[in-house]
């Protein structure tokens, strides 16, 4: 808050400009050279695989001939593809919303725990996020087992009809999202907790004196102050959730009848099991434009408001 408007200091004295420009050019070349190793690593690990995926997507099944957009044309005609698009969006958006809500609420609870016991709770609440998801998903798989699962056992004792957790398409989608929320909300919790801690306590005190109750403090103070973190966390999580593989793969493997497949698992199924690597590459490439649109909308406001607080 203390740094006032100092951002628009421009236009140095005209006489100095030439010298300064050559110095700055020299400096930027040196800077570029220093950044070059990193640029090379990024190029090797990101640009090359991405380019290779695009290349693969233009080949035929046996990877012998260039077929242009034929793979995409083929995909567009398949109902399963559109189902996967729909499921991926549903999965990612629902899961991120719930993760954000759960993370936000839990962050507020943790924030209000006295400082002494807070570390302990923070540590414990992070556990779902720290366990490798492949392992924890296996535990969930047993919990959802139709005949021997803990859930159905409880239901049986309560006289509630048993649920075919992973056998019914809607329940299976619910389960996949539930596990994803369970794994992912601690990350939101920790991000939101950090954001919450950076909201000056005096703003809450000022709001209290201005007559705000706890809900109004959250709505008028915390939410706007945490806005950037909320948006950026949501975006990153959206990307990761969209590309989720392990949970779906282990819990349902896309079933029943492909009704829980997301891009990652379906691409894997097509490419590795179906032996059609170009088609799998085409499917996975489809994530990029969808995420780009999401990123545009979410980040649109972030830069504008970047240094407001």
């Amino acid at each position: 808050m203390a740094d006032a408007v100092v951002s628009d200091v421009k236009t140095p004295a005209v006489g100095r400009r030439v010298g300064r420009r050559s110095v700055s050019r020299h400096r930027s070349i040196v800077g570029f050279l220093f950044a070059l190793p990193l640029i090379a690593v990024i190029a090797g690990l990101v640009v090359y695989p991405a380019g290779y995926a695009i290349h693969l997507a233009t080949l035929n099944k046996s990877m012998q001939h260039f077929v242009g957009f034929d793979n995409f044309r083929f995909l567009f005609k398949r109902n399963t593809f559109w189902m996967v698009v729909e499921q991926s969006c549903l999965f990612a958006v629902t899961a991120v919303i719930f993760k954000a809500v759960v993370g936000f609420v839990v962050a507020h609870f943790v924030h209000n725990i006295p400082q002494k016991g807070q570390r302990k709770w923070r540590g414990m609440l992070l556990v779902p996020w720290v366990i490798p998801p492949a392992m924890s998903t296996l535990a969930w798989l047993w919990l959802f087992d139709p005949s021997y699962s803990a859930f159905n056992w409880v239901f049986a004792h309560l006289g509630i009809p048993q649920v075919a957790w992973l056998g019914n398409a809607y329940w299976a989608r619910f389960c996949v999202i539930l596990v994803n929320v369970w794994v992912g909300s601690p990350f939101f919790m920790i991000m939101y907790l950090a954001a919450l801690k950076s909201v000056p306590e005096q703003l809450h005190e000022a709001a209290a004196i201005d007559g705000a109750n706890w809900l109004q403090k959250i709505w008028y103070i915390n939410l706007p102050m945490m806005r950037n973190i909320i948006q950026i966390t949501a975006l990153f999580s959206l990307i990761v959730t969209f590309a989720n593989f392990d949970i779906v793969k282990i819990l349902t493997n896309g079933g029943p009848v492909d009704q829980t497949h997301v891009f990652g698992t379906w691409a894997f199924t097509l490419a590795i099991w179906g032996n059609d690597i170009p088609l799998g590459a085409s499917v996975s490439l489809f994530m990029a434009p969808i995420l780009a649109v999401a990123a545009f909308f979410i980040l649109r406001n972030v830069r504008k408001r970047g240094n407001e607080a």
């Binding site: 103070i221 102050m225 407001e308």
Partner: protein
């Protein structure tokens, strides 16, 4: 508008006492300043009035209502914080109107009130800005505006000027005084700056170590401090304190400061100090009561001759420091009369303004 009363307020943080039994009555429309060094409990006291801290024991009244269990939002108070605590995501207008909007005031009235307050504070042209785009002084005004708009029973100021630079601080001090003259609301103002306290207050409350040392109008605290702490805290440069002994010097009493230096006690004080003859006491005299000798020594004053140790010209006056029995003493002399360091100078002490302190109790005798 309301009076505020504190009855035997105690505040403990875990087992550390911050405030140890405060009684204070603040009249309606009065401007009270709580002043004291860091950690004396003045901010804690203010925060208890605001309801941001809970009193461990004792009673707090605003108006006639006991407010110990009333949350801050229902106490009808407004507070100006040290770092302003403006909402960074709101414009000045939104900041100022926030409290009214929460209380669901009609839009038209909110607008009127904000504009009226903005007029008083001269910030009408800033209403659309965000706090980030304001200078420190402007933020300070907005923070005050947010308080004024609410038209509360009590204004609370928590060291509102300590984040400003020296020049702006003086300017805003005057501003606050002006605002209080226009918007006469009961005000409790916390500061560690005794000049701020003296200039603003109707009555000053000097606090030390969680207790009230003395309550009184600024001039009374200056002229008649009741304790050594108040005597030393109010006034700048601070009062000189010297260990001394009262001796019976023939017809009159005298203060014996060292082997060489004894100063006569004025006749008016003789009766008051008689019981302390031959006892160790602390002699206190303000620098402004030690001046250069001009012709004949006036009655009640005593002339003496010292070797100057340090000389500090301040422009309108010059501070001279000399040593009495190992203790540095400060005097305030006319620049034209001041001698150089190392030279001898004739000074006059106005003994009618002296204070004697009992070292056992630290009370002024």
């Amino acid at each position: 508008m309301a009076q505020v009363a504190l009855r035997n307020i105690v505040k403990m943080f875990d087992k550390t006492p911050a405030v140890q039994g405060i009684d204070l009555d603040i009249a309606d429309r009065e401007f009270i300043v709580l002043v004291g060094p860091s950690g004396c409990g003045k901010s804690t006291t203010l925060r208890m009035i605001a309801g941001l801290e809970e009193a461990t024991s004792g009673e707090i009244y605003i108006g006639d209502q006991l407010v110990n269990d009333v949350p801050p939002k229902d106490r009808d108070i407004a507070m100006v914080f040290q770092n302003y605590a403006l909402y960074p995501h709101m414009t000045v207008y939104e900041n100022m109107s926030f409290g009214l909007r929460l209380k669901k005031f009609p839009k038209q009235e909110i607008k009127q009130r904000v504009e009226a307050a903005a007029q008083i504070l001269d910030i009408t042209n800033l209403l659309d800005r965000r706090p980030k785009a304001l200078s420190g002084g402007q933020r300070q005004r907005v923070a005050m505006g947010r308080a004024i708009v609410r038209n509360p029973k009590v204004f609370l100021f928590d060291e509102p000027l300590s984040n400003l630079d020296a020049k702006l601080r003086v300017q805003m001090r005057t501003e606050i005084k002006k605002v209080h003259q226009k918007v006469t609301t009961t005000t409790v103002y916390v500061t560690h700056d005794q000049v701020e306290a003296m200039t603003l207050a109707d009555r000053v409350v000097v606090m030390n170590a969680g207790r009230i040392e003395q309550i009184g109008p600024p001039n009374e605290l200056y002229h008649n401090p009741k304790t050594r702490f108040v005597a030393g805290f109010i006034g700048s440069p601070a009062m000189n304190f010297l260990p001394a002994r009262i001796v019976n010097g023939g017809s009159n009493l005298a203060i014996r400061l060292s082997e060489k230096l004894s100063l006569p006690v004025p006749e008016s004080r003789t009766a008051r100090y008689k019981p302390y003859i031959d006892k160790e006491i602390v002699f206190g005299l303000r620098p402004e009561d030690i001046i250069e000798k001009r012709g004949a020594v006036p009655p009640g004053s005593a002339a003496f001759d010292v070797q100057l140790d340090v000389v500090e010209p301040m422009g309108m006056e010059t501070m001279v420091y000399f040593i009495v029995d190992g203790i540095e003493v400060c005097g305030r002399v006319n620049p034209t009369a001041a001698k150089e360091a190392g030279e001898n100078m004739d000074l006059v002490a106005d003994m009618t303004h002296m204070h004697l302190i009992d070292p056992a109790t630290d009370q002024v005798i």
